[in-house]
Amino acid sequence: MTQTLLETDGLTVRFGGHVAVDHVSCAFHAGELTAIVGPNGAGKTTYFNLISGQIPATEGRVRLMGEDITRASVADRCRKGLGRAFQLTNLFPNLSVLENVRLVIQAHRNKGFSLFSMAASHTELTTEAMAVLERVKLDHLKDKNVSELSHGNQRKLEVAMLIALDPMVYMFDEPTAGMSADEAPVVLDLIAELKAERERTILLVEHKMDVIRTLADRIIVLHNGALAADGDPATVMASDVVQEAYMGKELTDV
């Protein structure tokens, strides 16, 4: 049995009378890439928000490597090893590309409260940040302001910032959304590399079926906030509930 890194136990959130995520219990293991699918409004991003702490859960528990983090703040969850990239690009727009990544590494190394040293003198942070930028092929743009980058490059930077965090749990929310056909492979190859390391667990919200087919070890299906199916890709995709209820249209798209 592989190690369980992340576990949600009856995780629920209600907004007024609307149940956005409905008692989802699921465990995620080291070395596993789990794709989370479901129609729009099924609660995929809300489920992510509950795990990473942007929204407090109404009911249920979240456990990270056995530790209950249900009440922990967003920053604390991140420091404990939960890393997330966002669906809508969410960067520091007026800072340079390098600075964006360096800030992540600086957080990781606990250097944020160094008041009287020069940021530029922490060369080890810069070196690490550059290494990450090279992995996503953004190193030539390091001095650009983020607001000057193309959408595709901003998405890459979003992924770079997650990689720089070096978390135990990677959460990607549609990492290739809006990327052109020749840009997407860079990101997908990176996710494949991370998966090959087999030490971490990766959660991926994705709509593109070809991406899921090549990357996922397991698929969970959310429908109206509840867990509708869970299993290996072939079984889940072949299952009636997926075919008929709401995956049908998207499958024929591919």
Binding site: S73, N90, L91, F92, E99, L103, V104, M118, A119, A120
Partner: protein
């Protein structure tokens, strides 16, 4: 070496470099270049306001936090020195105790305000600071038994810092305690400014900028945003209090009007905006231009008014009593034409 003193934050514009050097030289040799009581008074004020405005820029320009309590912290430092000198008697010890006590009190008060209000929305913090600052200003003017009320406090400082302490003459300028006092103001201000410059260029300063840009994401990459905001508020308050202490040592007088009034708060805001937010050097330009305008615009207008006596309407418009109107016009024009402040404009010019 020089780059190190500036913490690697170069002016990045030739004109800006020249202006900064000009201001530095003018302030460093002010007693010799511009002899006279009034010009020395202006130079000291510029030094002190550079620190005060720079400490506000740390909060507003780097941290994106709007506070209306900056004069309150300034006043705490000033009253610290005044009360210590009044109650402990004239002496260096009183100055030191008053300065340290003022800075600590400012930091603690900032901590309390921050803990109560920075957790929630930024606007709430602005409102709380406004309320607390007004309350403190009222308290100071009411507790006349301790603070001297509206009249303020006059007190003695060590003789070495007063005009009575004579050392002779140099280059036709009397070397006395007032001159020593000026250099105390100058070097203390310079040191504080360079310290702030270091802080904004430190890893901590980068986090503040990240929080200003996107606090949601800063939290998501593991920074406990609230701690950084509180730390910035405390640091900024402590430096403002130190500036207040220097001001009190220089003036040998404190009163609600000179240290706590809301007008000074507005002045600080104007100086930050005119100079350029989030640049530190903007504080230097903003404070210099503003204090000069405050002190000499009236004279200039008086002269202009007289020179145009023969013409209709113009002498009236240029009447020295209208100086605030013209200051207002200058402010509107500068915000309109330099939305990023003078420093921002100069740096853009270079890039284009």
């Amino acid at each position: 070496m020089l780059i190190n003193i500036l913490s690697g934050d170069k002016p990045r514009s030739v004109i800006l470099t020249v202006l900064l050097l000009g201001i530095l030289v003018a302030l460093a040799f002010a007693p010799f270049l511009f002899p006279g009581v009034r010009s020395l008074e202006t130079a000291a004020r510029i030094c002190i306001f550079i620190v005060l405005v720079a400490s506000y820029d740390l909060l507003l320009g780097y941290g994106g936090i709007v506070s209306f309590a900056h004069t309150m912290f300034f006043g705490l430092g000033a009253y610290g020195v005044a009360l210590a000198s009044e109650n402990m008697g004239r002496g260096w010890g009183s100055l030191a105790v008053g300065t340290v006590a003022g800075a600590v009190a400012a930091a603690v008060l900032a901590l309390v305000i921050g803990l109560f209000s920075l957790r929630v929305r930024a606007i709430f913090f602005a409102m709380i600071t406004l309320a607390v600052a007004s309350a403190v200003a009222v308290l100071v003017s009411q507790l006349s038994g301790i603070t001297g009320g509206e009249d303020g406090l006059n007190y003695s400082i060590p003789r070495e810092l007063t005009p009575a302490f004579r050392l002779g003459e140099f280059l036709g300028v009397k070397i006395n305690g007032k001159l020593l006092n000026y250099y105390l103001v100058f070097f203390a201000s310079l040191a504080l400014f360079l310290m702030l410059l270091r802080v904004v260029n430190s890893p901590f300063g980068r986090v503040l900028q990240a929080i200003r840009e996107n606090d949601f994401r800063a939290e998501a990459i593991g920074y406990r945003v609230i701690y950084y905001r509180i730390a910035a508020t405390c640091l900024s308050a402590a430096v403002a209090a130190l500036a207040g202490s220097i001001f009190a040592i220089w003036l040998r007088y404190v009163g609600p009007d000179t240290t706590l009034s809301f007008e000074i708060m507005l002045d600080i805001l104007l100086m930050v905006v005119i100079g350029g937010m989030g640049t530190m050097y903007g504080a230097v330009l903003g404070a210099t231009i503003f204090v000069l305008a405050q002190n000499y615009l009236q004279n200039l207008m008086g002269a202009a008014s007289e020179a145009t006596t023969g013409l209709p309407l113009i002498p009236d418009l240029l009447n020295p009593d209208r100086w605030l109107l013209w200051l207002g016009v200058l402010f509107i024009l500068s915000v309109y034409f330099f939305p990023t402040g003078i420093v921002g404009r100069l740096r853009e010019g270079r890039r284009a």
